[in-house]
Symmetry: C2
Subunit: 422 residues, 2 copies
Amino acid sequence: MAKPRNAFYAQSGGVTAVINVSAAGVIETARKHRNKIGKVYAGRNGIIGALTEDLIDTSKESAANIAALKHTPAGAFGSCRYKLKGFDKNQAEYERLIEVFKAHDIGYFFYNGGGDSADTCLKVSQLSEKMGYPLQAIHVPKTMDNDLPITDTCPGFGSVAKYTAVSIREASFDLASMAKTSTQVFILEVMGRHAGWTAAAGGLAAEKDGDGPQVILFPEIVFDEARFLAKVDATVKKCGWCTIVASEGLHAPSGEFLSEAGGRDAFGHSQLGGLAPLLAKLLKDKLGLKYHWAVADYLMRAARHIASKTDLQQSYAVGKHAVELALKGKSGVMATIDRLSDKPYKWRAGEAPLSSVANVEKKMPRDFITADGFHITDKCRRYLAPLIQGEDAPPYRNGLPQYVTLKNAPVPKKCGPFEYKK
Amino acid sequence: MAKPRNAFYAQSGGVTAVINVSAAGVIETARKHRNKIGKVYAGRNGIIGALTEDLIDTSKESAANIAALKHTPAGAFGSCRYKLKGFDKNQAEYERLIEVFKAHDIGYFFYNGGGDSADTCLKVSQLSEKMGYPLQAIHVPKTMDNDLPITDTCPGFGSVAKYTAVSIREASFDLASMAKTSTQVFILEVMGRHAGWTAAAGGLAAEKDGDGPQVILFPEIVFDEARFLAKVDATVKKCGWCTIVASEGLHAPSGEFLSEAGGRDAFGHSQLGGLAPLLAKLLKDKLGLKYHWAVADYLMRAARHIASKTDLQQSYAVGKHAVELALKGKSGVMATIDRLSDKPYKWRAGEAPLSSVANVEKKMPRDFITADGFHITDKCRRYLAPLIQGEDAPPYRNGLPQYVTLKNAPVPKKCGPFEYKK
C-alpha cells in the first residue's frame, strides 16, 4: 500500500462566520483516513502560505481545538486576497507551488473560497497534468455573497442572511416605537457589491403586512430616485415609519455605484461614508424625514453568535465532502450543496466541475424580486427561508463567546525563499 | 377598604432591547396586587399618550403576551422624545395631565426612561402637592447610555455593552484573518453622545495582550490626532492589525463633535456619514492603511438576540421594585440597582430621590480610562464585567426571533381633545 500523501488546505478571500467549520470538516475527515491522507498542512494566509512555504502543521492541534473551529468565526489560519495569474503570465509562481508541494509530499489541495479562489483551484488542478505532478485539487465553496453558480447556496451566506433578517427585524421594532415624535426612517446598509442576496435576506423579516423592512434596494435594480422617494413616502404615510435594507452595490442610472456617483462634493471628490448616509440625506432633503442609519460591514460576516445552524451544517458538509471526493480520485471539482426539496427542506452534498464554476457570478433572478423592484417574491422567500433555519450558539465565558485561537505551529521549511508578486 | 386606583405606565426616550422587560415587571407586579392597583394603563407613545388621552388598556393583554415582553426589544406601547417644560412655562400641560389622570382615576405614575424622563417624573410627582391631586410618581430607569446617577447601572446598558463587546471581538477575529494582504484597520462607531460607557464596554473583548480592540475613543478624552495616529501605527506594526471602538460623541479640541468639526467640506457643510468613515479616511491618508468600518446605531440598542441576562434581570427588577415602592407609599423616587459586591457580583433593587437624579449626567470616571486615554483600566473592567454576564435567547420560529406585538386596545376617552406643543 502506498504511503499516505499529505494535504494542503487554505482559506481565501473575505472570511465568514463559518469558514472555519469547513476547515474542521476537512481536517476531521482527513484524520479519519490516515491510511490515505497523511498530515493536513494549512497555508498561513491562504495561497501566500504555499508560495512562501509558510505552512501550518494542523496535526499539532488537539481534537478539541479543531472541534472548536466549528464555533469560531473568521479564518483561523489567515486568509488572503491574491489571485494567481495565468500560466503564461506567471509561470514562476506555479513552479514554486510544485516545488513546495513536492518538498512536503502534498497530494491533495483543498482551497476554501469564492469565485476567484475557484479559479485558482482550477489552475492548480491543471498544474497536475501540465507539470507532471500528481495532485488532486478540490474547491470548498465559501462566500457570504452567495454568488457561486451550480451550488444551491454558498456556505457563509445563510449566516449573513440570518444576521440581516434578525437585525432589520430588531431595528424595525425600535423604529416603530420612535416614529411618533422622532425618527421615521432607518436604513441598514449591507455588504454585497454585485449581487443582492444579502439584501434580499432582510426581506425574510417581513412576514406579514406592516412588518419591516418595507423597502429593499438591490444591485440588480437600477436606482430610480423618484420611485424610491414615492415608495418611502407612501410607506411612512401608511405605517408611520419605514425600514430599508440597502445593498452597498446599488447602481446609479449612469452604471456607477450610487455611493460613488451620488456622493461627490463640489470638486468631484467622493464623499466619505457610503450609501446609507447618502440615502438618509436624500430622504431628509426631499421628504423631510428624520432618519437613522447603520452600516453592518464586517459585523455581519463575522457574527458567529447568530449563525444559521443550516449554514453551519452545510459548511461542515462541503469540507467533509471535499475530502471524500479526493479519496474517490476526483480533481478539478467543487463540493456543492444540492437542494432536493424546499418544504420540507432537504439537501445533500454534491459536486460540480470547476471549469463551470470559475469566474461565473450568480445574481438574483428577476423573478426573485417583486415587480416594483423593492422587495422579494414568494419564490425568493421559498429559496431563502430554509437557509436561516436553526440556531447554534457558541460557548460563552464571562458573557462573551469563546473563540479558539490555534497554535498554528509552522512546518519546518525545506525550500529556499520566494518573493510573490504583491 | 379603598377602591384600588389605576396606574399609568409609559416609555420615554430612545428605546432599548430590554425596556419592555421593565414594562412586564411593572404590569405583572401590579397584577399581583389587584386589591391596591386597578388597571395599568399605558401611554401610547409615552407622555404624549397621557396628554392626548391616548391610553392603552393593558388588562386586555393575556398573561402570555405580557410575559413575551421579556423577550421583545423596543417599546411595545410606543415611546416619545418629549420633555415637559416647567410649570410656569406650560401650566396647561400639567393641568391636562391632572384632567386625564382624574378622569381615569390614576393614582400611580410609572415613567420608564432616562435623564429627561426622570425630570418629567419629578415634575409630575410635584404636581400632586401643587395641584392637590394625590398621585405617586415613580421613575423606572432605562438608558443604553448608562449615564444616570446613583443607580449602579442603567437597565438597557448591559445589553448594549454585551453587543459591543461581542461585535468587536468577532470583527477583530475577522480583521486578523485579512490583515496580511488586505484590510488592517476596522472601526466600529457606537452610540453614546456624551458618555463613553458604550465604547468602554468594547474593551471587555480584549481579555489578553493582542486581543482587539486595541484602541477605544471616548467622548471624555479630547481627540488628539497625532497621538491617535501614533497609537494605531504602533499597534499595526506590533499586531499586524488594529480594531477601534469609537464613540460617536468624540470631541475635537475645539469642543465640537469631531464628526462635525472634522467632516466639513470646502464650503463648511457637514459631511455625510459620521465619525467612523472620517477616522478611516484619516488613517488611510496619513498612514496608508486599508480600512473597513461599521456604524452600529439602532442595531446595538435593539439587539435583543444577544441581550445580557444580568441586564434582563435588572430591567425586570426595577419595574417590579417601582410598583413595590408605590405600594409602600413612596413618590418622587427612582428604582435603582445597588451593587453589593463585584466578585461574586451581588446587587439588589434600591431607590433614590428624583431630585438627585434629574438632569445629572454620569460620565466615565477618569480612572476608568487608561493613562494614555485609549483603553479601559482594570477598575473599569471590574465594574463592567458583571453587567454582560449571561445569555437568554428569545424564542425562534422560521429562523427568526419571535417578538410580540401587543393588541394595544385603547381606553375609551372621557376628556376633550388637547393639542400638545410639538
